[in-house]
């Protein structure tokens, strides 16, 4: 049991370095380590972890309201195992030292916990709202157990600082900057999000992203639904990578309940997961073409994507929202006839792929617009803890399928695609080649699928405990942390979607680029804001005078 050795080694190293500060440690299953430290010792523990494993990246921070105390979990991926460093704070005065000085990538996660649980991170450079509107009342923290929506009341965002469009500001050095707002509604954005760009002529000086326009409160809502209902809820986190979310959540719940699913189900999950990846990557490559004004490429890529959607529909019954994984297996079986059809149709996509690869490699306009643009160095990528194709485009090994295998990936033959340059072009090429790898995986899985049942029945009640599940969603590492309390309802569900990890690097990439590069670079990140904004139930009414609120609109509709 080589893997157990790794976990013991990690625990041993950290206990050795921290001594008395460690309150407890455990490793419930391979590649998962939990270390409980004393309140103020978290920073020492994290720097010890960084020292022992230099390529450690932060996955997320989970805050849980335990009644008397607030538990803060720092989840790290240290290259071999997911290490959770845990510490408790008193609820009356929740204050903790920030870790952004040693892990810059933790900035957004700390703001998220601050926003939703009211934990104050001392010395954080910019501890402002991340997801909730500016006008959200102070001392109202939705993820605390004693919060109820009535207490917050109606929100009018009249207090929100109105941004002046096109405002020109003279800088001290004599130049002048123009503020240009992109979003919440903008043709280059397919989802509502706002970016405030500071421009010097055509050059981007700085950008301030503002998230939170697509809140649906899924994490809070998940606590009020049963586990098997939550599968359908988390599926709605994101339309495109829905399979990743359900697979991840089901795996977490199965690990929580110590359920071993049939291996046929694992293979079927793999197949649908890879369909999902092909469809998402082709979609993004098409969008990237559209953003740099290459409409023909967009049309061609999206036509080929139809094939995958058709196959997904034949296997799962739905084109996009697959509703396929469920706790204990999958919902439908694969027939041999369909298996042959899948292989035949994927062969066609493989042929098309070599054509697209040639286009991306040889077209001079694509080269001008993407090569050397929006560069993220390997060092910066590690520091900002980016994931998925963005990290791999910068040469950081981050494929969860390879390093933390789940479903049937342990045996699947595939390569981890790495590009070194870290520019937009590398990120797009990573995706293009991953489509080829996905085709290999599906073909292999269809050929080698074991027979047997594809689903087992599971109890609704799940035992007390916790589990953390990672999958490689099309956009990168996706994490679901599920805590059970012995009932059919989860105590806490925490979702960290890949875009939240990646969006922090946008600022790094876009500085010094031209206005025209903004959409191209943003597209190369493959941002998915509905994934990112899923945290809190917001019943917000837009209070700006010249915009009708939702209710006004409804009233108007009734009148006419």
């Amino acid at each position: 049991m080589k893997e157990i050795d790794i976990e013991e080694e990690i625990i041993g190293t950290l206990e050795g370095m921290l001594g008395e500060s460690v309150l407890g440690s455990k490793s419930p299953r391979p590649r998962r380590v939990y270390i409980h430290v004393k309140p103020a010792a978290h920073k020492r523990a994290i720097s010890a972890l960084l020292q022992a494993f230099p390529s450690t990246i932060i996955s997320t921070i989970t805050g849980i309201d335990l009644g008397e105390t607030i538990e803060i979990n720092y989840h790290f991926w240290c290259g071999k195992a997911e290490v959770t460093i845990r510490t408790n704070l008193s609820k009356s005065k929740p204050e903790i030292e920030t870790i952004t000085d040693i892990v810059p990538g933790a900035s957004l996660y700390e703001r998220e916990v601050h926003d939703l649980l009211g934990v104050k991170f001392a010395n954080h450079p910019n501890l402002t709202r991340l997801l909730l509107p500016e006008s959200w009342p102070e001392n109202s923290y939705p993820l605390r157990k004693d919060w109820n929506p009535k207490q917050t009341g109606e929100i009018h965002d009249s207090s929100e600082k109105t941004l002046t469009i096109g405002e020109t500001r003279t800088e001290s050095n004599g130049g002048s900057l123009v503020n240009v707002i992109v979003g919440p509604q903008h043709p280059a954005l397919h989802e509502p999000e706002r970016f405030l760009f500071k421009l010097d002529g055509e050059v981007v000086v700085d950008v301030e992203p503002r998230l939170g326009y697509a809140h649906r409160g899924i994490e809070k809502a998940a606590e009020h639904l049963m586990f098997f209902q939550d599968v359908h809820l988390v599926e709605r986190v994101c339309g495109i990578c829905n399979v990743a979310h359900t697979t991840c959540f089901c795996q977490a719940v199965e690990a929580l309940g110590k359920i071993e699913i049939p291996s046929r189900a694992k293979y079927l999950r793999t197949i649908v997961h890879e369909f999902n990846r092909i469809h998402s990557h082709l979609l993004l490559l098409g969008i990237a073409g559209l953003e740099i004004g290459f409409e023909s490429l967009f049309q061609y890529l999206w036509r080929d994507r139809e094939t995958v959607l058709d196959l997904t529909e034949k296997l799962t019954g739905n084109r996009v929202m697959a509703e396929y994984s469920t706790i204990g297996g999958v919902r439908r079986d694969l027939t041999p006839i369909l298996g042959d059809e899948i292989k035949k149709k994927l062969q066609k996509i493989r042929d098309r792929l070599s054509f697209y690869k040639e286009v991306f490699q040889s077209d001079p306009t694509i080269e001008l617009r993407t090569k050397g643009i929006g560069v993220l160095s390997e060092e910066k990528a590690l520091k900002l803890c980016v994931v998925g194709p963005v990290a791999r485009g910068s040469g950081v090994k981050s494929d969860v399928r390879k390093h933390d295998p789940y479903a049937a990936y342990e045996d699947a033959p595939f390569k981890e695609i790495l590009y070194k340059d870290g520019d937009s072009w590398s990120r797009l090429m990573v995706r293009l080649e991953e489509v080829g790898e996905s085709i290999e995986i599906i073909t292999w899985a269809v050929d080698n699928i074991p027979s047997g049942p594809y689903r087992i029945r599971v109890p609704r009640r799940m035992p007390r405990g916790e589990s953390l599940s990672r999958v490689e969603a099309p956009r990168g590492e996706l994490i679901h942390y599920v805590k059970g309390n012995g009932t059919a309802y989860p105590e806490r569900v925490k979702i960290r979607s890949p875009t939240l990890a990646n969006i922090i690097s946008f600022r790094e990439m876009i500085r010094g680029c031209y206005v025209a590069d903004i959409p191209a670079v943003l597209a190369s990140l493959d941002p998915c804001f509905s994934c990112t904004d899923r945290m809190v139930f917001v019943d917000e009414k837009n209070g700006r005078r010249w915009i009708w609120s939702m209710n006004d609109l409804k009233a108007r509709r009734r009148d006419s």
């Binding site: 469009i165 707002i181 055509e202 559209l290 004004g293 409409e295 049309q299």
Partner: protein
Amino acid sequence: MNPNIFFRILVFPGFLFLFVLILFCDWFERKIMARMQNRMGPSYTGPFGILQPLADYIKLLTKEDIIPHHARQFLFSLTPIISFSIFMLSIFCFPLDGINVFSNYGFEGDLLFVLALVTFAHFFLFLSGWSSSNPYSGIGAVRILMQFIGYDIPLIISAIGPAFLAGSLSLAKIASMQTIPFALLTPWTFILFLVALQAELEEDPFDVPHAETEIVAGYGTEFSGRKLAFIRLAKDTQIVFGAVLTATLFLGGPYGPVFSAPPSLWFTIYFVLKVLFVIALLEFVEAICARLRIDHVVRGNWRMITPAALLSVILTVLSAPYIRLFMGAPI
């Protein structure tokens, strides 16, 4: 004064004919673009969707017309109409069915007049963006200036080539001289002219002034209703104008073999076919290109296109005696 002139200006080959031609070219453009991109293109309104552009304009005319609070109201209302009118007027100067709309062969130097009018029209497109007081429009307007001022130079230099070969600055004379199209005799000038024209018409890879994914609709962002209809119409007219200019300078304009009377019928047919041919060429380039960045566009002009245009003029001048000999024209 010829009473016929009103018919010529208003109906054929003047306003109405050109309007129908512009709408047809819009449809043609959309259809071949769609076919090249594996799409259907307009297909519901009328046979093969041929009435779709007309339906679009009628729809726009019925929409609410909003003037932003901060906009320069007078300029904002005026520029769409003026830019449309200028492009229309410049097409009037071309020999359309053998003679121009005003029933004559133009005057010596109307090539320069037309080119000057177009530069003027571009300035109005810039003003339309500038007057809307919107950052997207502002960026779009500045991009127009950067792009057009740059590309006007190679365009005009390339237009000199045919004028030199024909020994005249009159559009009708240049067109009627071409027993063999100049496009075949001096392909180097023709290609450069097409590149500069592509930039003038804001087609890919030069569509930076209205790059949708960056600055929404560029200078046209704030326009709506009737004004948007006129801006769109001005853009379509501009594309037809570009095609007419190319056809006249390089493809022999409306002239060609006449098989039976009346010649003006044949001339009209040749004219329309040549215009469609040029549009198909332009659209093909648009289909296979991604959008460049404004700095690429400007740098490409000053480093490559303008010097190349100058070289091509020198080449044309040097080879002119042989070409004229070949055409059988007096040297």
